[in-house]
């Protein structure tokens, strides 16, 4: 049976939150959760509460900053923004992610498990 939605990889939520804040500018927790759901097209499970634990971690590392403000429907809300250190971290993490996903992509392609010569020998 194929799972229709998959749990997100550990550690990647931080990356998703940083990217969201970089793209969208300051957002409150609910806004970040909604944005990740939209971009993920409901394909990944994000327990919205875990966003707040992720925000606590990122705040402690000073990769994001927080400020109380007023939401679009006049509610008091805490807005998070990415910091310079956060941008640098995001850049480094993104490059790392692209490198790893590229490697994994190549490994998972059909026939890529063996070098060309070995494949030819196996074929003969």
């Amino acid at each position: 049976m194929v799972e229709p939605r998959s749990a997100i990889l550990q550690g990647t939520l931080d990356l998703m939150v940083l990217k969201t804040l970089e793209q969208m500018g300051p957002l409150h927790g609910y806004g970040i959760a909604r944005r990740i759901e939209q971009v993920g097209e409901q394909a990944v499970i994000v327990n919205q509460g875990t966003i707040y634990l992720c925000l606590v971690r990122l705040l402690q590392k000073r990769w994001i900053s927080a400020k109380w403000g007023t939401s679009e429907n006049n509610r008091k809300a805490k807005f998070y923004a990415i910091t310079t250190a956060g941008r640098a971290q995001l850049k480094a993490e993104t490059e790392n992610w692209e490198r790893i996903s590229g490697v994994i992509g190549r490994v998972l392609q059909p026939g890529s498990g063996l070098p060309a010569e070995a494949s030819a020998k196996a074929g003969s």
Partner: protein, 877 residues
């Protein structure tokens, strides 16, 4: 790395104000639910459904709050705090364990901390002077004999003073202990120093009154002046502000007081009186006094290495061949304190050894506490079953038990630190009697390094006594399945490990017992059998001449003659030093192995041994010819023969002193000395190797010992009368009875004896407690079985055989192993040198005592076993 640093900071901040973080987080979740709800209502859901959906999507609020709290603060600190509180409660409940275990740990940690404090203080090179760490000593090192010559000839000093560039204020000093007569009193043992004026500039300490010594004072023919210390000013001049210009008599010479140094100033070591040191060639006239301790201050920017390189370039001047050729001597620049105490190096490995020694000392008490903690742990299995059911891991339970004992160990650590603060100074004086009074920079207060050492020892104690039994107990439960903990039959067993541990403990206790008993016998035997001399019959005093002392020798002989003829006085003898107060020096035996032997020495008159009634074991006493020129006979005591010569027949062997510098007022005589007689140790408590030389000419002042069988009170009166009758300037000082002196010295031995005794008793008590715990548990575990056996007709005798048989295994194994170790240890330890005295068949006697102690410990549990009610046991079965 920076992110980690910020995280730690943020966690600490949130830990300190947890309520603010919680309120913030709650407000944010409320906001989230409100926004989500409104969003869903806008998309057509009913409000009720929207609220429910929003909550579902967010997840459990309570769990989120807990997770956020854990992510924000320092959760392990809170857990440890809770464990600590629980630990305190457990300590209150198990007060027996707290008392015995805590006391043993505190004493052991205190001992370890004291040793560390002594090392840290003695090896510390920092002087409490302005830039004290830049003060250095310059001395010579004998490359062949591998020993340091603390003092250097004055010609070298003069050359260094003129030429060295990397050091300034090159100074010289010679300590001496003169008799001082000040305006308000006399003292015959003032620590003083002849010192160059430059030393005061080097020390950078201003006088409280007047001036320090100046270079003019060192000139030949200058008026004798002195600078006095604060205490001497208080005691000798009643803190008189007009002390400057007053006279103080030092040895025989009156000096003018020109300055008073402030309180606490004891430079260069612990002096309280300073006179100028004449370093010109004329001042070297006195034999044996041409050397001095040389020290200086590094100039700004110079290093010890640079100074060493410079001094090496200049080298040493050629010396008298007899004193050692210059070729084998090299000058060395060392930190000041290391120069004064070259035997103590600040090697970190030594700190490691001391820590290790402390750790080794901790093992026996901690192993005992571990047995008790293990026993307590297995009785708490219901509690741990509940905790396991609630989700606590094995590691969590082990940490809890560790923290419980850590609370006890921390308390013991604090008590140990207080003990070290209180006793390390006294302990230092005990192990280093020559260091009294202590150098002015040593205060033996525990430093930060000592606190760290104590923390390490406490952690180690908690690990041995807490973590080890916790691992053992929980490991057994894990194998049995934690869920089965509620079942009373599971897990509560004291296995082979503990039996082995008990056997080890019995063996170790037995191993030290014979040596400890001999030490105790050595220390307390003189108290029990007496000093071997009628000490109450002896009166001691010193006589001194004020002013011109040229007639002193004649008056001394006349005083002895007159006193001897007095009624009630059976004998009078003169000696350079008093009995029990002899100085000691390094010696070597001709043809003997080159090892560091030390002996006390004294110069005595012909009547000395007769007056004290000392028995000769071999050879003869001094005769008139021994007091003539060219004769160097010596009489030694029994301890000298056993400890130094090592042969039965010591007569004819020759000995000489390695150094002939004076330690007090007398110097060891130079040259070889032939043993002509061996006397019994006297008093019996004296087991120091001692050498007695014929006193050819009495020193000034000289000590007299008067034997007055009919009472020393009248004899004291007669002594004063004879002295004043002979010459108005002949003074009698320091009158005291030998009895008083003897018991004062003994009080020190008694303190040591009580310490050894206390440790021995603690070791025995622990062995007893360990065996008792083991047997009590076995009886508690097997009470049903014992009850059933009793119901089936087993006699109390059979039950007792079973119980005692179980205890006999560790006891016998321990006794056999202990005897083997004891025999080894007993022959290897220098018990006689340390003041012990051999006892025949001590090893088997100790083994018997140990077995008796073990059987006594079994008596309680055995009594409980035969009182088990068979009907009760059958009913439960």
């Amino acid at each position: 790395m920076r992110a980690l640093f910020y995280t730690v900071l943020a966690r600490i901040r949130d830990f300190l104000r947890p309520a603010a973080g919680d309120a913030d987080f709650d407000q944010e979740l409320d906001m989230h639910l409100g926004l989500a709800e409104e969003d869903k209502v806008r998309r057509g859901m009913s409000r009720e459904q929207a609220r429910r959906e929003a909550r579902l999507e967010l997840g459990g609020v309570a769990q989120l709050r807990e997770a956020a709290r854990a992510a924000r603060g320092l959760p392990w600190v809170e857990t440890l705090w809770l464990d600590g509180k629980l630990g305190l409660r457990m300590l209150r409940r198990s007060w027996g364990l707290t008392l015995v275990g805590g006391l043993a740990m505190a004493v052991t940690i205190g001992l370890g901390a004291s040793m560390f404090t002594i090392w840290d203080t003695v090896a510390g090179t920092r002087l409490p002077l302005n830039e004290g760490d830049r003060v250095v000593a310059i001395q010579s090192f004998d490359k062949v004999a591998h020993r340091v010559h603390r003092e250097t000839p004055l010609p070298d000093f003069r050359r260094w003073r003129e030429t060295l560039k990397s050091v300034e204020h090159v100074s010289a000093m010679r300590p001496f202990v003169p008799a001082v007569i000040a305006r308000d009193g006399a003292d015959d043992s003032v620590a003083a120093a002849e010192m160059t004026a430059s030393a005061f500039q080097l020390a950078r300490v201003q006088p409280l009154l007047g001036r320090p010594l100046i270079e003019d004072d060192e000139r030949e023919g200058a008026e004798p002046v002195a600078v006095i210390g604060y205490r001497l000013w208080q005691e000798g001049f009643s803190s008189d502000p007009a002390v400057l210009g007053q006279r103080i008599q030092i040895s025989d010479t009156p000096h003018i007081v020109v300055g008073v140094m402030p309180r606490g100033f004891g430079f260069p070591v612990n002096q309280r009186l300073w006179t100028p040191l004449r370093t010109n060639p004329v001042g070297e006239g006195r034999p044996g006094r041409a050397d001095a301790f040389i020290f200086a201050r590094l100039v700004p920017g110079a290093t010890l290495e640079r100074a060493q390189a410079e001094v090496t370039t200049f080298g040493l001047l050629p010396r008298d061949i007899a004193a050692g050729t210059t070729a084998q001597l090299e000058p060395r620049v060392v930190p000041y304190a290391a120069g004064l105490f070259p035997e103590v190096n600040r090697n970190t490995w030594l700190a490691g050894v001391i820590f290790l020694l402390g750790a080794l000392l901790l093992i026996p008490p901690c192993a005992n506490i571990a047995i008790l903690v293990y026993a307590r742990t297995v009785t708490r299995r219901d509690e741990f079953a509940v905790r396991t059911a609630l989700g606590a891991s094995r590691g969590r339970i082990v940490i809890q038990l560790f923290v419980e004992v850590l609370v006890l160990a921390s308390g013991a650590g604090i008590a140990g630190l207080l003990l070290a603060r209180q006793f390390s100074g006294r302990l230092a004086r005990m192990v280093m009697p020559t260091m009294s009074p202590l150098p002015f920079w040593m205060d033996f207060k525990p430093s930060l390094a000592t606190v760290l050492c104590v923390a390490g020892l406490s952690l180690l104690a908690a690990a041995i006594a807490g973590a080890v039994p916790a691992f053992r107990a929980t490991g057994r439960w894990r194998r049995a399945g934690f869920v089965g903990l509620g079942n009373r039959s599971a897990g509560a067993r004291l296995g082979k490990t503990w039996t082995a541990l008990l056997a080890t403990q019995v063996a170790l206790s037995l191993a030290i017992l014979p040596s400890a008993m001999e030490m105790l016998w050595g220390v307390f035997r003189p108290t029990i059998v007496g000093p071997g001399l009628p000490v109450e019959e002896f009166l001691t005093a010193s006589i001194v001449m004020e002013g011109d002392s040229s007639r002193f020798e004649h008056l001394r002989i006349e005083a002895v003659r007159q006193l001897t003829s007095e009624a009630g006085i059976s004998g009078v003898t003169a000696s350079a030093d008093l009995l029990l107060e002899e100085p000691s020096a390094d010696i070597e035996v001709e043809g003997g192995e080159a090892h560091d032997a030390q002996a006390q020495f004294n110069s005595v008159d012909a009547k000395f041994f007769e007056v004290f009634g000392v028995r000769f074991l071999a050879g003869r006493s001094f005769d008139a010819s021994d007091f003539g020129p060219g004769r160097t006979p010596v009489i030694v005591n029994r301890s000298f023969v056993t400890q130094v010569v090592g042969e039965t027949n010591a007569l004819g062997r020759r000995i000489r002193y390695r150094e002939t510098e004076p330690t007090r007022q007398t110097a060891p005589p130079p040259g070889w000395h032939e043993i002509v007689g061996v006397v019994e140790d006297f008093p019996v408590s004296n087991n120091e190797p001692t050498m007695f030389h014929p006193m050819t000419r009495a020193p000034h002042p000289v000590n007299l010992t008067i034997r007055a069988p009919s009472g020393i009170g009248p004899a004291a009166g007669r002594l004063r009368a004879v002295a004043s009758g002979l010459d108005s300037q002949l003074r009698v000082r320091d009158l005291q009875s030998l009895d008083e002196m003897y018991w004062q010295r003994r009080s020190f031995d008694h303190m040591f004896g009580f310490m050894v005794g206390a440790v021995t008793v603690i070791v025995l008590l622990f062995s007893m407690a360990g065996i008792y715990t083991l047997m009590a548990f076995i009886v508690a575990q097997r009470w049903r079985e014992i009850g059933v056996r009793a119901a089936l007709g087993a006699q109390p005798r059979q039950l007792l055989i079973g119980i005692f048989g179980r205890a006999a295994v560790p006891l016998l194994i321990g006794a056999i192993a202990g005897c083997a170790i004891a025999l080894r240890l007993h022959s290897a330890l220098p018990i006689a040198e340390a003041g012990g005295r051999s006892i025949p068949v001590i090893v088997p006697a100790s083994a018997a005592l140990m077995i008796v102690v073990g059987l006594l410990a079994v008596a309680g549990p055995a009594r409980r076993a035969i009182r088990i009610d068979p009907t009760e046991a059958l009913r439960v079965s």
